[in-house]
């Protein structure tokens, strides 16, 4: 009951943002929602199934390019987002069948390298993608404020859908089976779980919304290039966000995304040429001191300690 109330409160708060703040804050809030989509998506494969996936950047970049190319060729924006998500999903399905038999470091590296491969491929397919020159996406013919709000609410919907699917999955046999796979994959197989299909489904779920967010991003910033959308940092960020709030938890990723963006913004504002380094320190700090998530810190105890 209480959780529901809190959820409702948060949703109302998020809905209020575009009414009470300026375009820049709306942009930040949109970014936060996008980060939370990354984190929730990653949670399917990383949190639920326990596979150390560094493939977020691949899915994001692929979705961005698929969506952008659709839009350049006249496909309506919203449809282009759906296509971006689907392209990523299909890619993830095939990729999953190929690399999900790998474990641990091998899987991590394979998923990490995929983004590099895609980046190189898109870089060299100059004829279609513009290569390193990037791709311009047609600008929407509407007012600046209206645009900011349109994108905010669109991302809000995407995030909500992702959350809903996460919640749905975690309460169903799929989520249950993934939990088993995370604990002991061999035993899960012998319990009758088709581990290949389950893992691949989780991988695909983690791709579909990330890909959709990628296509969204392309429309939102009007310009993408391979260096940007396949950046390795995109793969690392959701992991840190989820780690911040405990892997596997449902709303954890959302809060992690908010906190992470806040810290990132803070660092970025205060250090002109050293913000990347500060971001690195932040990641180090979070990983070393909070490997099980902020939510696992009993902060009342902590406060008591501080007060005394």
């Amino acid at each position: 009951m209480k959780t529901k109330l809190v959820g409702l409160f948060v949703i109302v708060l998020l809905l209020l943002i575009p009414i009470i703040s300026n375009n820049y804050v709306i942009r930040l809030a949109t970014m936060m929602l996008m980060y939370s989509v990354f984190a929730m998506s990653w949670n399917f494969i990383g949190g639920m199934a326990g596979y150390p996936s560094f493939a977020t950047a691949s899915f994001f970049g692929l979705g961005a390019y698929a969506g952008a190319l659709c839009q350049v060729n006249g496909v309506p924006m919203f449809l282009a987002w759906v296509i971006g998500g689907l392209v990523s999903a299909v890619f993830a399905w095939v990729l999953g069948l190929a690399i999900l038999h790998l474990k641990g470091h091998y899987f991590a590296i394979a998923s990490l390298i995929v983004a590099e491969v895609l980046r190189e491929v898109i870089n060299s397919a100059t004829g279609i993608t513009g290569g390193g020159m990037g791709l311009n996406i047609p600008v929407l013919r509407m007012g600046v404020d209206a645009q900011a709000r349109l994108f905010y609410f669109s991302m809000f919907v995407i995030a909500l859908v992702t959350l809903a699917v996460s919640a749905y999955v975690s309460g169903r046999p799929l989520g249950f089976g993934l939990k088993c796979i995370k604990q002991n994959e061999d035993a899960a197989g012998m319990t009758g779980i088709n581990t290949t299909i389950y893992k691949t489904t989780a991988f695909t779920l983690s791709a579909v919304f990330t890909g959709g967010a990628g296509a969204f991003y392309a429309s939102w910033v009007n310009y993408i290039d391979p260096e940007d959308v396949f950046e390795i940092l995109i793969s690392i960020k959701p992991i840190v966000m989820v780690l911040m709030c405990g892997a596997g938890a449902l709303v954890g990723p959302v809060i992690g995304a908010g906190l992470f963006l806040f810290l990132e913004e803070l660092v970025w504002r205060n250090f002109l040429t050293f913000h990347v380094g500060m971001l690195g320190l932040m990641v180090v700090f979070l990983v070393i001191f909070l490997p099980t998530g902020l939510l696992s810190v009993d902060y009342r105890k902590f406060l008591k300690k501080v007060v005394r």
Binding site: P173, F176, C180, Q183, N184, G189, M190, T191, G192
Partner: protein, 252 residues
Amino acid sequence: MTALLQLKNVSRNFGGLAALSEVSFDVHPGEILGLIGPNGAGKTTLVNLVTGVYRPSSGQIIFEDKPINRLKSYAIARMGIARTFQVMQPFPEMTVVDNVAAGALFATGASTLEEAKELAQVHLEYVDLKKFANTPAASLTLPNRKRLELAKSLAMNPKLLLLDEVMAGINSVEIDQSLGLIKSLVEKGITILLIEHIMKVVMSVCSRVVVLHHGSLICEGQPNYVTSDPQVIKAYLGSKFAARQNRVSHEQ
């Protein structure tokens, strides 16, 4: 009477080392077949081959007249082969009831998670673990973990149950309880392959016994026949003991 499970010349190599070579035997429906052998004989490898963790390097495994040696473990599980684990417990951070529910949900007809959890309660009752239903599996004591393993396997509603050293590390009173439990399973119509190295256990419940040594099948037959086989004695107790045994029988 056709066999429920047939192994035909099954071999498995690991990096050039033969863990199992040319093993053949049948498991008949409704029996308790003992599989014994000293440590390192290849017993667990055999279980892993039957349950699809590994694939045989050569040979065939047939279950209910269908070859299963190329199937994945989930498919084998759904056909009705369940196993317990020797050391590890499957899903340590999940609750006891969830562990059992996993078996009920994925290997049998339970269509929803709720239904599976209800079924799980029944099986927990059966092995007397109901009071621990909501504790994490990792916190159970060793004998209780073994029970959990059993409950989980039963929840899969198996035709063939592979019990991998369920008696190891528990005291004699508990062994007797377990034996009772195993016998009651057979009455339910479940065929059992009992993997053990404690001979006493095997003797009392098994109708037949096969013996593995260094990856080969060295003897097959009634429990009494098997224990008097000199090769088995040698394998178990070493050649010195076998020689002494020989001498003793001579002197007598």
